[in-house]
């Protein structure tokens, strides 16, 4: 068995005195899509932020490509090739589409063919028509595409994707699903935090069910799909 790309063992995190994660473990292998599913407030977003070094965390092991990344500053984690697309998209609204992409640009690493604005515009044709437009003049779905494209400009080997389907039109959710498949086809691994069960089920290889800051289930997506009782209890679907 090869070492996982992202390895999380016993991760705990807290906001001040309020603990949110209680010794959570999961892993992400190269090129796979893993869905982190769970109810609102279960700790999905905090998990991703803790991995990126955006909230203070402790862990027995937190490693990316075999390198420990706990207590590493966020920009160093990102430079190792771990991309992050936050839940609220966080587009730079004063910057144009092309400038937003420029902020994300980093040299490609060996093995993967580099992402360029042109390639990304093919992946998200909507963006191609608004290169010079500012972030504050874009719809939620367009901002979501731009947020993902911006992170891809850093040529990451893995992406932490927080609720990409939240608050956007169904037709765009379809575009998101295609984009995630395209990333996977390029060899980019995706850890996807999702509340939209149907969306997550459609594109993920494996699933981690998170409840109150702990992992309740970890296994192939088809096993979770088969286990209606667990789904009803932990996800309400």
């Amino acid at each position: 068995m090869t070492a996982p790309l992202l390895d999380v063992v016993n991760l705990s995190a807290a906001y001040g005195r309020a603990r949110v994660l209680f010794g959570l473990s999961l892993h992400l292998d190269p090129g796979e899509v893993v869905a982190l599913v769970g109810r609102n407030g279960a700790g999905k977003t905090t998990t991703l932020k803790a991995i990126m070094g955006l909230v203070p965390a402790t862990a027995e092991r937190l490693a990316f490509k075999g390198r420990p990344i706990l207590n590493l500053s966020t920009y160093r984690i990102a430079r190792l090739g771990l991309g992050y697309v936050p839940e609220d998209r966080r587009i730079f609204t004063d910057l144009t589409v092309e400038e937003n992409l420029e902020v994300g640009r980093r040299e490609a690493r060996g093995g993967l063919s580099p992402w360029t604005p042109e390639r990304l515009f093919r992946l998200f044709p909507n963006l191609a028509e608004m290169r010079g437009r500012r972030g504050n003049q874009m719809s939620g779905g367009e901002q979501q595409m731009l947020s993902i494209a911006r992170t891809l400009m850093g040529n990451p080997e893995a992406i932490l994707l927080d609720e990409p389907s939240e608050g956007i039109a169904p037709v765009i959710v379809q575009t998101m699903a295609e984009a995630i498949r395209a990333m996977k086809a390029e060899g980019v691994a995706v850890l996807l935090s999702e509340q939209n069960w149907a969306f997550a089920a459609g594109i993920s290889d494996r699933a981690c069910v998170i409840e109150r800051g702990e992992i309740r289930f970890q296994g192939p997506m088809r096993d979770l799909m088969a286990d209606a009782a667990l789904r009803a209890e932990t996800l309400g679907v």
Binding site: T74, Y75, R90, L95, V103, R106
Partner: protein, 615 residues
């Protein structure tokens, strides 16, 4: 009025607008990215002026010509840029996450350090730089002579605006800076090393400050007062333009330049009053300035008194301390009593500020306004109304309360850094009024002959009067802190939306706090005026405001007794150390920086924390 005069006035306004913009542009850029209001920006400007006034004549010895002159100006700005880099690496980098009060104080510490260093390095006398070669002859415009150097300055502003615009729009550094202005965390998540970005921004900001200062040398002699005067003006420009906005700063500088040029025709004495009115109007209509945006700051930035239960033992301690203080005249000589009187006055002054900052989370950076109003109110009562002390003291308190009500009415609409800047500006205006309205206030000389009534004169009697008044005022304020009113203020400090959601009228509470605090500071000011027998504009100056803040910081912002202890310690230190050294400001500045960096809880807070940790 002749049209040619209007044109010349307008050109003068444009020239000062250009200078102001170049400096303020650096301030606003640094704020935009680092979220730090760099008080030391004016000091960088001053260093730029001194460096150029020394370097350019030296260079001109080797080759006299315009190229040498301008190369010297640019080299001076570069030197200042490098100083900015050092400042970022040594200090600013450590306080990016600190509450804004600490950031302001720490950078003001740098102001103090630079003031002493500049005198050490360049000497105490003003240095007038050479006139620019090739630009010595005035040009004739509509039959009037106009200095040609001013025309170059008028062009310099738009040139700098254009270059900064190109840098921000067309380079990767610029795109990253603009992104970081908006969302630093996201920029880091995309793999950008902010340290480099911030250092680069500080270089740019300091370079512009240095350039602004260096460009002044043919017009104004480099002097030790230019740091605070330019920082006050730059604050107004950045606040009016919207903090972080370069075009906003340009527009604001243009408006202010013209206002100053033509304000002289309306208020010959104080053009600053016009500028202040502009700032007040702009902030009343747009609380974030012309091109500013609402602050996106996560969580609370306020630091203050935490929830506390008044202990019954506190009262006993207070009574004992009071009794001991009352016995002091039995053992102390006249000099010690004089020092003790001053300590009590400043303890009340600092304590009144505690109500705003510690309890209300309202970072007032111009508390000297109320101290000075109290002092001037009392002195004016004596001077013009021949009022006895018994009437003059309440008059001072009243004037301070009214001033606080007026300033507060504007200020409570604002938040965070805008509030701090506005209070600072208000105090600077009062300073200017006291300085320039010579007929009434005596100008720079102030008002003398402010002596206490017969029954209160003499060191011992006046000490006891001060003790009585200070103790009463502190007890009243303490009662206010522990009353529901104080709880409401704290609730608003910790979470504005939640406090509003439970039905608190935040603005009204804060306004009342302003009046109370202003009145208490005014009482302190009045007592101070009688203790010295005179008043002068320095009572309203920035250093007086910072004194109160330093006492608060030294004692501990999160404690109730902190300001009292802080006042005692700072005053005692000053009394001991100032006669020994000419570098008191250097010492004070370094101390402020050290407190912010090493023990931000202050003396009382540290002791309390240490006791808590042991039990």
């Amino acid at each position: 009025m002749e049209p040619s005069f209007l044109v010349i006035q307008s050109l003068n306004g444009l020239a000062s607008a250009s200078s102001l913009f170049i400096t303020a542009c650096g301030l606003t850029l640094v704020f935009g990215v680092t979220r730090i209001v760099n008080f030391a920006h004016g000091s960088l400007y001053m260093i730029g002026a001194y460096t150029a006034a020394t370097l350019v004549p030296w260079l001109l010895q080797f080759y006299f010509g315009p190229v040498t002159f301008w190369a010297g100006i640019l080299a001076s700005a570069l030197v200042v840029g490098l100083i900015g880099v050092v400042l970022e690496i040594v200090l600013l980098r450590r306080i990016y996450a600190a509450p804004e009060l600490f950031q302001l104080l720490a950078t003001f510490g740098v102001v103090l350090v630079v003031q002493d260093l500049v005198v050490q390095i360049f000497g105490p006398q003003d240095i007038l730089g050479p006139r620019a070669p090739g630009l010595r002859a005035p040009v004739e415009i509509l039959g009037r002579r106009f200095p040609s150097y001013e025309l170059v300055l008028i062009a310099a502003g738009p040139i700098v605006l254009g270059l900064v615009w190109l840098l921000l729009r067309k380079t990767r550094f610029g795109v990253l800076v603009r992104a970081a202005t908006q969302d630093r965390e996201m920029v880091a998540s995309l793999g950008v090393n902010q340290a480099v970005l911030f250092t680069g921004t500080l270089f740019l900001g300091a370079f512009l400050a240095g350039l602004g200062g260096a460009l002044q040398i043919p017009r104004v002699a480099a002097n030790t007062g230019m740091d605070l005067s330019v920082i006050a003006e730059s604050f107004v420009v950045t606040v009016v333009g919207g903090m972080g906005s370069v075009p906003g700063a340009f527009l604001a500088a243009l408006i202010i330049g013209q206002l100053q040029a033509f304000g002289i025709l309306i208020f010959p004495k104080s053009t600053l009053v016009v500028v202040f009115l502009l700032m007040a109007v702009v902030l009343a209509i747009r609380p974030y300035g012309l091109f500013g945006r609402p602050e996106v700051v996560g969580g609370t930035h306020a630091v203050g008194i935490v929830s506390r239960k008044p202990r019954s033992s506190d009262m006993a301690v207070a009574v004992i301390v009071l009794a001991l203080l009352a016995c002091l005249p039995l053992v102390a000589d006249a000099y010690l009593l004089k020092v003790a009187t001053e300590i009590l006055i400043f303890a009340l002054f600092a304590f009144s500020l505690q109500l705003l900052i510690g309890v209300g989370g309202i970072v007032s950076f111009g508390h000297a306004a109320f101290f000075g109003l109290g002092a001037y109110g009392a002195a004016l009562g004596i001077r013009w109304l021949s009022a006895p002390m018994e009437a003059a003291l309440p008059l001072g308190l009243l004037l301070a309360a009214v001033g606080a009500a007026l300033i507060g009415a504007f200020v409570v609409r604002l938040s965070g850094i805008y509030l701090a800047m506005m209070t600072l500006a208000a105090a600077q205006i009062l300073y200017a009024v006291a300085f320039q309205w010579v007929e009434v206030t005596g100008g720079d000389n102030g008002i003398v002959g402010v002596w206490p009534a017969e029954w209160a004169s003499g060191q011992t009697r006046y000490y006891l009067l001060t003790l009585g008044l200070t103790a009463s005022a502190v007890l009243v304020l303490r009662r206010v802190i522990d009353a529901p009113f104080g709880y409401a203020l704290r609730a608003a400090r910790d979470s504005e939306p939640r406090a509003e959601a439970i039905g608190l009228n935040i603005r009204r509470h804060r306004w009342l706090a302003f009046i109370l605090s202003g009145a208490a500071a005014g009482l302190a000011g009045g007592i101070y005026a009688f203790s010295r027998g005179s008043v002068d504009p320095s009572l309203l100056g920035i250093p007086t405001s910072v004194d109160a803040l330093t006492m608060l910081l030294l004692g501990g912002i999160q404690t109730v007794t902190g300001p009292l202890v802080g006042a005692g310690v700072l005053h005692a230190l000053r009394d001991q150390i100032m006669p020994l050294t000419s570098l008191w400001r250097l010492f004070l500045g370094l101390s402020i920086i050290a407190i912010v960096l090493i023990f931000p809880r202050g003396l009382v807070g540290t002791v309390g924390h240490w006791r808590e940790a042991r039990s």
